[in-house]
């Protein structure tokens, strides 16, 4: 059974490219349009990994990570930030919230796949 990965991003085109890349790698993908939407879906859908943007309306990536980590089903899943932001202070903030890794946009498909394989084992 294919592992399920959630992509949370307010940019539809980024979600499309993340989904395209992950599906090529044989993963099932759940899309969320922002942090709030993602958290809502996480409470009812079991996912194996979360890839989230930082700056999103309603609830940003840091808020989403904190919310997700509070859910028992997401306590130990890998959460990777996929954002245009590259400031160290933001990265530290993400790490403190519970992020597993940080990818600065734009990503190459093989990069994303390598990260996913690495964190999912």
């Amino acid at each position: 059974m294919a592992k399920v990965i959630m992509t949370a991003d307010d940019s539809a085109s980024v979600r499309q490219m993340v989904t395209f890349t992950l599906k090529q790698g044989g993963y099932d993908v759940v899309e969320a349009v922002d942090g709030k939407d993602a958290l809502q879906k996480l409470s009812s859908t079991k996912v194996d990994m979360l890839i989230t943007d930082l700056n999103m309306p309603n609830l940003d990536g840091i808020g989403l990570i904190k919310g997700a980590r509070a859910l028992p089903s997401c306590k130990f899943i890998p959460i990777v930030m996929l954002t245009t932001e590259s400031q160290d202070s933001k990265k530290q903030e993400g790490k403190a919230a519970g992020a597993t890794g940080w990818i600065v946009k734009p990503f190459k498909p093989e990069q994303l796949m390598a990260v996913v394989k690495k964190v999912l084992g």
């Binding site: 980024v14 490219m17 700056n55 954002t83 245009t84 590259s86 597993t100 890794g101 990818i103």
Partner: protein
């Protein structure tokens, strides 16, 4: 320093300009907000097609793999092995057939020589017949002279005469048959030699060509066996092109954010101008910075779209190249039917025909030999008849001699005649012996040849049929391979043509960068107008215009670099000389675990 009146005039002028600038900034902020919110659908459409192109590219690579797999597969390898064995069999067959022809020709020539030897004894029968007739007449005359005492000699003479006619007739028939047989043999000899030579040359030429074809097939097979790596390499290249496109597709999000930040900065400046909290210096500095951000955004988007277009075209080009390369690797020259396999199929058809022809030649040889045997048998029968006649004449002559002895002195002449007849009968028997001896020689040779040819012909025929059957199987295999390849090639060509057409259609419809560029150029021009007016009032000076608060909304390193670049220029250089764009960011360095410089795992 302006006087009090001048200061009032300047304030009024600034207020008027601020109102104008506010209107310009409001208009451009609205335009930028609109353009950043409406371009995503075009990217989504391209992204949707990209997934379709990727899947179709996979399908084309799959077809290419199938094609080379078919050529390098068990069918073709089996056919190649069969063809190799067939070439060996054909080599043996050709040698045997050639040997058989030479033996047959020698035997037929030997029969001709033997037949020529029959001519002398046959001419002897003529002489016997002539003398017998004369002796018969003499016997009749002598019998008539003696009258009653020689009664019975007349009948004897008539019998001898009739028998001599029979000898003559049968000898004539033997001569005729002998000549017919000689002609048949000469014709067969010419036919066998001619056909044999033609067949030999033809088969040898085809053998050479088929060996060449087999060598070519071996090379194609080897090429196809190693082409999996080639197809895989092309697939990797296509995947890299897809990767470039995927990367560039994210530019929309990046550029959108940058334009939104400019929009926010312009709106904020407008509010500041309206509220009087922002002066000419701040307006100029903020606008100069936004121009640089917009130019960077425009260049980023243009680069990204160019990469998308190039990447998509590269996918089509790679797939077309793969299609052509696969066709060539599989030995398919084109899709009009001209291919290595169809040429080979033609050659093998010719081989089959040649083998069947050779079988016919062998059959013709058998028929000729049967004719020789039959004719020689008939001649032998006639010779036997003559021999019997000779024996009969001999008995008649013996009776005549006895009778002439009873007749006394008067029958002495008849006794001489009877003796002569007896001698002639012995001559006739001797002649038949000579003819029989020769005929026995011919029969022995013919039987030997018949036996040999019969056994050989039967063996060769079985071999020929076996070879033709195997060749038919090979033909069918090659035809199937050819048909499958042709079908796959057509599918692949169709797929590539449709893919290339669809990609070109998508590429031709990509206008998002031009639309965005148009809006950004207008914004840059309008904002540059504000800068020009503001700088007349507040020339650039180090430290002027507080831009620090703008950094709070940046989400990208590129925005910060542009900001820092212009802030530095504000601080240390003449603003009129500074550029309104900055160089692109250097690519991130790869990390130890090779995930890339933009990846960090905690």
């Amino acid at each position: 320093m302006p006087t009090g009146k001048d200061s009032v005039t300047q304030d009024a002028e600034l207020k008027r300009l601020s109102e104008d600038w506010s209107a310009v900034l409001a208009e451009q902020a609205a335009q930028l907000a609109a353009v950043s919110g409406t371009t995503e659908q075009e990217f989504l459409d391209i992204g949707g097609r990209l997934q379709d192109f990727y899947q179709r590219g996979l399908g084309i690579s799959g077809l290419a793999s199938e094609m080379v797999g078919e050529v390098a597969g068990d069918h073709v390898i089996g056919a190649m092995r069969g063809l190799g064995e067939m070439l060996d069999d054909m080599g043996r067959y050709v040698n045997r057939a050639q040997n058989e022809i030479e033996v047959s020709a020698d035997t037929l020539r030997e029969i001709l020589v033997l037949l020529a030897k029959v001519s002398d004894p046959l001419s002897g029968f003529k002489k016997v017949n002539k003398v017998l007739r004369m002796l018969g007449i003499s016997t009749k005359i002598e019998s008539a002279r003696l009258g009653q005492s020689a009664a019975g000699f007349d009948t004897l003479a008539s019998d001898v005469g009739e028998l001599s006619v029979q000898v003559n007739d049968k000898a004539a028939v033997i001569l005729k048959r002998k000549e017919e047989l000689a002609r048949t043999i000469e014709q067969t000899l010419a036919g066998v030699l001619n056909s044999g030579a033609q067949q030999h040359d033809q088969v040898m030429a085809i053998l050479a060509r088929t060996r060449g074809s087999m060598q070519a097939l071996t090379e194609i097979n080897a090429r196809c066996s190693s082409s999996v790596a080639t197809i895989s390499a092309v697939s990797d290249e296509v995947y890299r092109s897809i990767g470039d496109v995927v990367m560039s597709m994210q530019a929309h999000d990046i550029v959108r954010q940058q334009i939104e930040h400019v929009d926010e900065a312009l709106t904020e400046l407008k509010h500041g101008l309206s509220a009087g909290t922002a002066g000419a210096d701040t307006a100029a500095a903020v606008c100069e910075l936004q121009i640089a951000q917009l130019r960077h955004a425009e260049a980023e988007l243009d680069d990204a779209v160019t990469t998308i277009i190039d990447g998509l075209r590269e996918i089509a080009r790679k797939q077309s190249g793969l299609s052509a390369q696969t066709s060539s690797m599989a030995g398919m020259a084109d899709q009009t039917g001209g291919s290595f396999f169809s040429e080979m199929e033609k050659d093998i058809s010719v081989v089959s025909d040649a083998l069947l022809d050779s079988s016919k030649v062998n059959q013709a040889l058998c028929v000729a030999m049967a004719t020789v045997a039959q004719t020689v048998g008939e001649i032998a029968t006639f010779v036997g008849d003559i021999e019997k006649i000779g024996e009969e004449i001999k008995l008649i002559a013996l009776n005549a001699q006895i009778k002439s002895a009873y007749t006394g002195d008067e029958g002495a002449a008849l006794g001489v005649l009877a003796e002569a007849i007896q001698r002639l009968s012995i001559d006739a028997i001797d002649h038949t012996g000579a003819v029989s001896g020769t005929l026995q020689g011919i029969i022995a040779v013919t039987d030997r040849l018949n036996e040999g040819v019969g056994a050989e012909a039967s063996g060769l025929e079985r071999e020929v049929h076996g070879m033709v059957q195997t060749l038919s199987g090979l033909l069918q295999t090659l035809r199937q391979v050819h048909d499958t390849l042709l079908h796959s090639l057509r599918n692949m060509d169709d797929s590539v043509t449709r893919l290339s057409g669809d990609i070109e259609q998508v590429v031709a419809g990509v206008t998002v960068h031009r639309k965005v560029s148009q809006v950004l150029e207008t914004a840059v021009r309008e904002i540059a107008g504000v800068v020009a007016q503001a700088r007349k009032i507040a020339p650039a000076s180090p430290g002027a215009g507080n831009l620090e608060q703008l950094t709070q909304r940046y989400t990208m390193q590129s925005e910060r670099r542009i900001h820092e670049s212009l802030s530095g220029a504000h601080a240390g250089r003449d603003a009129s000389a500074r550029p309104l764009t900055v160089a692109a960011a250097p690519p991130p360095a790869a990390t130890e675990d090779d995930l890339g410089g933009n990846v960090e795992l905690f």
